[in-house]
């Protein structure tokens, strides 16, 4: 048997009849490619009943893939398959292959795609409890809360999001005003576009859009940061140093998100009103008239109610982002999955909370 050196010509499979018994003759070089070409035919021949012999006298080369084919022929034939004419090296290779193929029963993977149903809800409630306990214990664990980190997260979640918030808010106000002004103009009510946009921005769209921006930008970043720390065993290191990961990693992010969210919502409100004012000015209304309409339509309750909602949305997005990070599994895909879960969870929770607030505000007459 010559040592392998790159490309080989391949192997052929022939069935012959000798003294009334079937003989499978394999010739040439039997490597992975060649085994692939003759595998199906070989299995078909091996499955036929009756005595079968393998003639390997013209086999010039055989590697482990070739040996796998020869063993598969033996396994597919119901009776023992004698081998004729094999070089000693091929026989030795077959013995080695037989040993390798006899693996003990395989351990099944214990990985699951995540907890479902009640267990997942149970985990979520337990995590919320941990966060609340960490908040209550914070005065005793002040050292674990790093203010430098908190300011850095506030910068990341708030200051760096301002351009995006302003742009989206302005465009939102512009579009909302334009789309509602066209039909309302038919009834001569286009002046009330200012009322409509002001109320919908202050009460709903301001906090809602800011929360969606926060979930997309910051919630995913929180999950990815904590997820990477989990994968690199940094979270385990904190635990073994008796440092509470929730206090050290979750609380600064949570406080930062809750601090910046009302500010972001307010900026989005202002930018949206500016967008609306642009459209109304184009329709011929002076700024003072628009301002008067807004003043009449929107009350401080609308503004502060919206900002309070923003605070709660910030809490939800940060808690879910950090939770996704802490629940990160193992392996390179886990961090990506955690970031996705943070964004989806953050947006769903925000809209769910918004619905709850709508009912609550209605019931208390706000």
């Amino acid at each position: 048997m010559t040592p392998p050196s790159g490309k080989r010509p391949g192997a052929t499979l022939k069935r012959e009849s000798r003294d009334g018994r079937a003989v499978l003759v394999i010739t040439g070089d039997l490597n992975a490619q060649a085994a692939g070409q003759i595998w199906r035919n070989a299995m078909r021949e091996a499955a036929k009943p009756g005595d079968l012999t393998l003639d390997l006298s013209a086999l010039t080369f055989c590697d482990m893939s070739g040996a796998a084919l020869l063993l598969a022929i033996e396994a597919a034939h119901a009776q023992p398959v004698p081998i004729e004419g094999a070089e000693q090296k091929i026989t030795a290779l077959l013995d080695k292959a037989r040993t390798s193929a006899k693996a003990p029963a395989g351990a099944a993977s214990t990985r699951t795609s995540g907890k479902g149903g009640l267990a997942a809800w149970g985990d979520a409630i337990a995590y919320l409890g941990e966060v609340l306990i960490a908040l209550l214990r914070l005065p005793m664990r002040r050292r674990m809360l790093r203010w430098q980190d908190l300011l850095s997260y506030a910068d990341q979640a708030g200051v760096r999001a301002i351009p995006l918030v302003l742009l989206l808010g302005y465009l939102m106000g512009l579009i909302l005003a334009f789309q509602s002004a066209v039909p309302m103009r038919r009834f001569g009510a286009d002046l009330f576009v200012a009322n409509l946009v002001a109320i919908s921005l202050l009460r709903e769209l301001g906090p809602l859009l800011s929360a969606i921006i926060l979930a997309g930008r910051t919630g995913s970043a929180f999950a990815a940061e904590i997820g990477s720390m989990k994968v690199n065993q940094e979270v385990d290191a904190l635990v073994t140093m008796s440092i509470d990961p929730v206090t050290m990693l979750v609380l600064p992010r949570l406080i930062a998100a809750m601090l910046v969210m009302p500010a972001l919502a307010l900026l989005l409100d202002i930018a949206g009103l500016a967008g609306m004012a642009t459209v109304m000015t184009a329709f011929g209304y002076p700024l003072v008239t628009i301002a008067h309409q807004v003043q009449q339509a929107a009350t401080p309750v609308d503004l502060f109610g919206g900002l309070f909602k923003g605070l709660c949305f910030g809490f939800a997005v940060a808690v879910i982002g950090c939770r996704s990070g802490l629940a990160t599994g193992v392996g390179p895909r886990a961090v990506g999955q955690a970031a996705t879960a943070a964004v989806v969870g953050g947006i769903v929770a925000t809209i769910f909370l918004d619905g709850l607030f709508a009912i609550l505000f209605y019931r208390v007459g706000l």
């Binding site: 050196s5 085994a35 590697d63 482990m64 893939s65 080695k96 390798s100 006899k102 990985r111 193992v330």
Partner: protein, 253 residues
């Protein structure tokens, strides 16, 4: 016949010369080891040999594919189809089981049906002692197991030339000896050529036919080859202080 010919190879990153004028050859069917201290350019040289990095100067010929200069990509791709590489950490795909990892090259480059691919892959895993773990995900196995699974994947297509980056590092002595035995048996049974990058002295002395030793201070302006030959002979006869330091743990004064 030589599986690898390295002639006057230099690698620069900007003004920094990692090594220069490196020349050696690897004969078909031998176990060849690249060794040297940290930062001497072993991994850079390995990356050149496996076609991940083109040399700044000089010529590398692997299995008849000649790589010269930075525009040798087509030759590098052709060469990569004929070699197997095990990376230091195993570099297993995290979304696939060990069996699927080993089956991947067979799926890409052969006509083997699924049961055939499975049979071959199981055999390769059995060879490295992981037949029982074929259904596990890479995240569920130890570093040593990942390394062995990486070897099984590198062997999937029975390439004539295998590159192993630190195959024994981090393994227990028994597993390390098993890997050494596996390398020797593949070399003897299939004529496979092995190029290893390793620091494991016991392993080098046990299996290497020849070695090349790099040192980052071989030249005043950069690294290069300071010794080449049979490792046992180098251990016993070399007078180079760095070679003696490596093999005999004699710290140069």
């Amino acid at each position: 016949m030589n599986a690898i010919e390295v002639t006057g190879v230099t690698q620069r990153f900007g003004d920094r010369i990692i090594f220069r004028d490196v020349s050696f050859s690897v004969t078909t069917g031998e176990v060849f080891v690249i060794l040297g201290g940290s930062g001497c350019g072993k991994s850079t040289l390995l990356n050149q040999l496996i076609g991940l990095l083109s040399p700044s100067a000089g010529t590398i010929s692997v299995l008849g594919h000649t790589i010269t200069g930075p525009s040798a990509t087509a030759e590098q791709h052709a060469m990569q189809r004929e070699i197997g590489v095990m990376f230091q950490s195993g570099a297993l795909f995290g979304s696939m089981t060990l069996l699927e990892n080993v089956m991947l090259p067979l799926e890409m480059f052969t006509d083997l049906p699924r049961d055939g691919r499975e049979a071959v892959a199981r055999m390769k895993l059995g060879l490295v002692g992981l037949g029982h773990a074929s259904a596990l995900m890479p995240a569920e196995i130890s570093g040593g197991m990942a390394k062995r699974a990486g070897i099984a994947r590198a062997m999937a297509m029975d390439p004539p030339l295998l590159f192993l980056d630190e195959p024994s590092a981090g393994l227990d002595p028994v597993t390390s000896a098993e890997i050494d035995r596996l390398i020797l048996s593949l070399r003897d049974d299939l004529g496979t050529t092995f190029v290893l990058v390793t620091h494991e002295l016991a392993s080098i002395l046990a299996i290497a036919d020849r070695c090349v030793m790099l040192d980052r201070n071989a030249f005043p302006d950069g690294g290069g080859v300071i010794a080449e030959g049979d490792p046992k002979q180098l251990r016993d006869e070399s007078t180079h202080p760095m070679v003696r330091a490596f093999f005999r743990r004699e710290i140069p004064q």
